[in-house]
Amino acid sequence: MATATPWLSLAIWIPIASGLLLLAAGSDRSAAVVRSIALAGSLLGLLVTLPLYTGFDTASAGLQFVEKAPWIERFNAHYHLGVDGLSVWFVLLTAFTTVIVVLAGWEVIRDRVPQYYASFLILSGLMIGVFSAVDGLLFYVFFEATLIPMYIIIGVWGGQNRVYAAFKFFLYTLLGSLLMLVALVYLYYVSGGRFGIFDWHATPIGMTPQILLFLAFFMAFAVKVPMWPVHTWLPDAHVEAPTGGSIVLAAIMLKLGAYGFLRFSLPIVPDASHALSGLVIALSLIAVVYIGLVALVQTDMKKLVAYSSIAHMGFVTLGFFIFNPMGVAGGIVQMISHGFISGAMFFCIGVMYDRVHSRNIADYGGVANTMPRFAAFFMLFAMANSGLPATSGFVGEFMVILGAVKYDFWIGLIAATTLVLGAAYSLWMYKRVVFGEVANAQVAEMADVNARELLILVLLAAAVMFMGLYPKPFTDVMDASVAQLLQHAAQSKLPAAAAALGR
């Protein structure tokens, strides 16, 4: 099923190539040119992902836009790309977010401009690589390599405590993924010397190895998601990262972990996934309720949104591990929607930070008086963050709650508390920042959004509204793949069961 044009390769390598070009030729003196090249690169990158949607066959659960070439003979590893209903939206989301990030840093970043844009462009290509790799080794290479640009982004353009945050981010996530590497090599051997992820889907594995493999994957992906209690790197990283870094972290990087659960844990070790689903569900519910409460008491806006991200991602993992189509599809919808909303929230905070240079809620008040247009958009995103119907935030949460109630009423009930908690922390923060009298002189001097900022807000708002009002294009794409995934996850892969099935 090879396509004539290697769209996926283009989507990966165009951003990376433009990033390298900036690294090689750019300098702070030619910042204007650098920005234009970065924008051109990201727009071109977005453009080449569009055929992935328009040309996508929603009836098929199989891989599409496949590219396969031998890569490393010794490991029997291939440069094997392809997307299915689970991953195609994330490729588009990544390319879209990159454009937003490039625009978001336009006037704000004045120091080492080429390196800034190069980091984001390279990061974007690598993340698309993660979503489209269907070779285990290729996946791992992209997955790990994303750490390098993010480490630089946080460490160079971050806030006060950026060095600590950068190290914590890097080492924490590296710890998780190193064990996954051992698991991948293990799978390579049990599958008879193959690195293809879909080859592993059909490999029978005994229960004890399955549990160990599950735990190894869990370490890698749970840290990335992040799930309670390995979430502590995220608030630090979010708070210290520059606005663009926060947007990418929340919108895409967290999804790498959740996506990993779908690609690896559920289909490769289904028996262990069922056996340990209780653990994952419990941790997810803790994330929803406890982290929701933690978000409530934050005084720093970025920290608040960071905690809200953890709570929302708890919903995603919950949806995946209740093993019904509603839950899994809901989890994926929630991931995409959270990509737009969290990106928008961090952008809004960034807009205010650029004017007042503070992230403290207490330093604001009455922003609506000085920035009415901004306040309207911020309102929309805060509402979406709390899961208001007609915004994208509602769709995913509603689907997951439906799925959860079907699985177990009480789990559904606990999960549903997010609607209360989410509204509480989002709207209370919004009230304190935006409403009321103008709090101080700095707020009084805030100028409303300029054309560039307005453009970004409009783009994000359109995405949030569209997905909330008409989620069908999103769910249609994933339905077939979700059904197939659940079918895989429902089949026991213990050697005895596999033998009975005649494999």
Binding site: I72, G155, V185
Partner: protein
Amino acid sequence: MENLNILATLPEIVLLTAALGVLALDLFISDERRNLTYVLTLVALVATAGVTWAFLSYGTVTYAFGGMYVTDPMVNVLKLFSILSVAVALVYAQSYARDRGLWKGELFTLTLFALLGILLMISANNLLVIYLGLELQALSLYTLVALRRDDARSSEAAMKYFVLGALASGFLLYGMSMLYGATGTLDINELSERIVEGQTAGRLTLVFGTVFVVAGLAFKLGAVPFHMWVPDVYQGAPTPVTLLIGTAPKIAAFAITFRILVEGLLPIAADWQQMLVVLAVASLLLGNLAAIAQSNLKRMLAYSTIAQMGFMLLAMVSGVVGGNVESTVNAYSAAMFYVITYAITTLGTFGIVLLLARSGFEAEEIADLKGLARRSPWYAFVMLILMFSLAGIPLTVGFFAKLVVLQALLGDSLQGPMLWLAIFAVLISLVGAYYYLRVVKVMYFDAPAEPVAPIAATTDMRVVLSINGVLVLVLGLVPHYLLKLCGDAMARALGG
């Protein structure tokens, strides 16, 4: 096999002739025209590399001097990388050595003789020839460390290197004599045949001999607990000499380890593998932990070398599992790949140290790299690649080096001690990541300490250093060819 076959030693002949030529010619060259010696040395190296390349593409296994000397694809690959790394080291050394009065004929001739020793070690197929090659290499290097004879730290390092190195050679020689006593032969091939056929005087002598040999080899590799010389010598030696010690001799040490333990003593692999496990684990642990505490870049790299050699040794322990020798090619070619990529990466890191040094300023503290990303974005980027490669993060070749070792280690024994060893190895490399990251942090996150002079380096050094950095990246994207080269060469060496 009884053939003299003198043509097989053509690389050594070319190198020896050239070394003698450079030695004689340099007497008539004044200090101002020393560049001539430099160019001649490079020409000699290129000629030797050319001959080796021709041998490699010819691809046969040839014995010479009645089986004392062997040349096969593996030998030629290792030789080629040794020669190249020495040539690159000389290019990097240029301005540093000139500024410090080290730009003398001795630097070139001793380097060439050290390389001759290295080539001999790689090709030796006889315990005594191995020893002779080793001594030629070691004596040349001792002298090179002491080249700055008015520098106290240099002299101390030379003294330490010499005393401990001589001790190690003594160990090795003593072990060899026991092997000889047990089997009655110095020939590597006969050694293993006689052990297999049971023609040994006593197992105890054999195992004792092996213990001493392993201790001597561990010294040369710098594995814990025989690592004490490494940090002091790395720090005390003039940086170009540190660079020499850290690259080609490691390749040679791998070669003789392979030759003695694998080709000679494979039948008693179970005995020496246990020892290597202890050495590897101790090296990984101590190397990585001690590196964290270092503020001197050269010293940190020394401890990092100890840890890297520990990782390489892990591949050496995974060749024979329960008497099954099927995975030997896989395991030992993993070690070979590891040591070659390690040499390439180390060349670059010390190259950066040399690049930043100026007259009167060594640039060997980690703090001296402060704000390099502002001063020189390109070389900071090169150093970033090198550091991530040493840490084993993907997109660099270091990741694949670690991966082949892991793959070899896990082998088919998915349960049991090897699995735990693999988990230990990846977790300890997390500790390693910390201090490599710290270097990146200093370069990228910190502001330059004071207004510093721009980087002054010769064009050839800039070009070679850039290629070196890009190579680490390219091999990290497409490691296939080098992996295949190592795998094929190893298959020939073990099959033939």
